[in-house]
Amino acid sequence: MSGADAPVQVPGTVLTMRRTGAYHTMTLVAPGVAERFRPGQFVALAVGGEQTGMLMRRCFSVREVTSDYGGTIEVVFAVRGKGTEWLAALRPRDILDVAGPLGRPFPLPRDPVTCVLIGEAHGSAPLFPLATVLRQRECPLHFVLGGADSDHVYGARGARRAGDSVSVATEDGSLGDRGHVTGLLPGVVEDVEAAVVYACGPLETLRAVTRTAAEYGIPAQVAVEEPMPCGTGVCMACVLPVVGDDGSTHMLRSCVDGPVFRGERVRWDDIGTIPFDALGAPRAVRLGERP
């Protein structure tokens, strides 16, 4: 209980809401969260108000923290379903329950090495607080950002301020190169002689990032965004097959053992299954089993 690295649960007060391209940017006063936050961590928000029928939390990467008003956090989100629709309709002074910061942060390099930060869509958001810390450690930073179209590339402008270079790709070519963001990665890694890649985005993107990093023999630190109904480790819904230090595969909860994993530890091809060699995998298929 408590301890500096334990999360807090507090009522968050909406300070501002604004549109950023396809996204909504929400700043919350959430005392206690900001001071504990480390880049890569996320917050879990309760949605729907007091009588809500939506029991799952909605998780969001933190885009920025400040110490104003006892601590603010900023999240950037896309409207996707009922919960984010509700969030988008919030107005300043509305209150919602915030738990955070949650999850393992990005590991940081001890020495000032060259870092590539790659993000797809809103996945760029968590790269910014990371960039701030890496800058303090004097690491050269190169951003690689992408999305479906220019509206869905988040943070290109901010990245220009924060990074030594920014490369952008969109599926429809409306901003930067045409194509998928991962297509840019090998070129950038080679050009800047990157020592590590940090990534956030959909699984397919993270898998491709991991592959590229492996080809160049550098580590990839990837932050996953799989559905996390609780965010606190109690529901067991967010598991991924990950190879542990013991060499065997464990079904790890991405909310507490992640969201940041070393890319090569994740068994990307087996996501959505229980690999037969995972610890505790069923020996034979058992049909009709109840939880």
């Binding site: 999360p7 029991l55 109904p229 067991m236 610890l279």
Partner: protein
């Protein structure tokens, strides 16, 4: 705080609020939000003889005021539980109710046997909703005789002073019949209800939303079914302590289950929504009892069965309570 003390057969608990099996981790996770020793007890996820990887994702789906789950009892197995999780709970000073599961009577008995010498086991709860591989995969809870057989085996492998609780499913024609069979077989108490058998289909992919196809429906949506089961079973077996659960979200929800006949109340799905739910509910329940002038928790267990006009101060819903409620007691 003595107002909240309760009993489950041979053991006393400082208060009636506990986590529900599989919904509060092994204590550590919620322990980051509050002191787990403050709860009446921590109920563990159902422990099996070996480690289990569980089911593939997606494992959970949101439904109106509910959650569907097919997690498949992922867990470390009894060995790791005893060496890693139980000692941590004991260190915190928590009271631990160990939920156990198996796919055969032998497996239940084996897990119970390994628990028998472990220090700090307050009670054993038998999850009877597992499929019986020796009987076409039918869940033990579906048939009085199958449930009773498991209870008998676990009771035989458990120390005298440790209550054995049978956890029942509401997915049966006659929950009272199953309850009676379990008590006759030696259960010291009953837990109810487990999640209802449900399913959801994704209207975008046109496929089941859970990898496991069907799953368990839990959360406030099912609370009326839980209240009904507790009420029916308490009417039939008034002396048998019941841990009530199913959709408890507030202190008043907990009170509802106590009035129906539960001696303790477990909080499940709502922990996902609110990691502090258990301590909040405990605080709210304490306030609600004081508001109503209830001096002892045991005075209201099953009170809804009794005719109106007992000693308890009923609250006029049109007026509410006049005096400000004292909230000092907890925390």
């Amino acid at each position: 705080m003595s107002v909240l003390e309760t009993r489950l057969g041979q053991v006393g608990l400082p208060n009636p609020i506990m986590t529900a099996a599989g919904c509060g981790g092994a204590g550590r996770e919620l322990g980051r939000f509050f002191d787990v020793a403050k709860l009446g007890a921590v109920v563990t996820p159902s422990i099996m003889s070996e480690a289990r990887a569980g089911r593939p994702a997606p494992r959970l789906a949101e439904t109106p005021s509910g959650v569907l789950n097919a997690t498949g009892l992922q867990g470390p197995g009894i060995g790791t539980f005893l060496s890693r999780d139980l000692p941590w709970l004991n260190e915190q000073g928590a009271r631990t109710i160990v939920s156990i599961a198996g796919n055969s009577v032998r497996e239940y008995a084996e897990v119970a046997g390994r628990l028998a010498d472990a220090p700090g086991v307050t009670a054993v709860e038998i999850n009877t909703s597992c499929p019986n591989v020796e009987d076409r995969g039918l869940m033990f809870a579906a048939h009085p005789s199958a449930a009773a057989e498991v209870v008998r085996a676990v009771r035989a492998h458990t120390r005298r002073g440790v209550p054995v609780l049978a956890k029942l499913s509401a997915d049966v024609t006659d929950v009272v019949g199953v309850a009676m069979a379990c008590v006759d077989a030696g259960a010291d108490g009953l837990s109810m209800i487990n999640a209802l058998h449900g399913m959801a289909i994704d209207t975008a992919t046109l496929r089941p939303r859970l990898a496991g196809v069907t799953g368990g429906l839990s959360g406030p949506a099912i609370r009326p079914v839980a209240v009904r089961c507790v009420y029916q079973v308490h009417a039939a077996l008034p002396e048998v302590p019941i841990i009530g659960m199913g959709g408890v979200r507030t202190g008043l929800d907990a009170l509802e289950l106590l009035l129906a006949g539960a001696s303790a109340v477990a909080v499940g799905t709502v922990n996902f929504h609110d990691p502090s739910a258990c301590v909040r509910i405990l605080r709210e329940l304490d306030g609600a009892l004081r508001e109503r002038g209830i001096g002892r928790l045991s005075d209201i267990v099953g009170l809804a069965h009794k005719p109106a006009g007992t000693l308890i101060r009923r609250i006029d819903p049109n007026v509410g309570v006049d005096e400000p409620i004292e909230q000092e007691t907890l925390q």
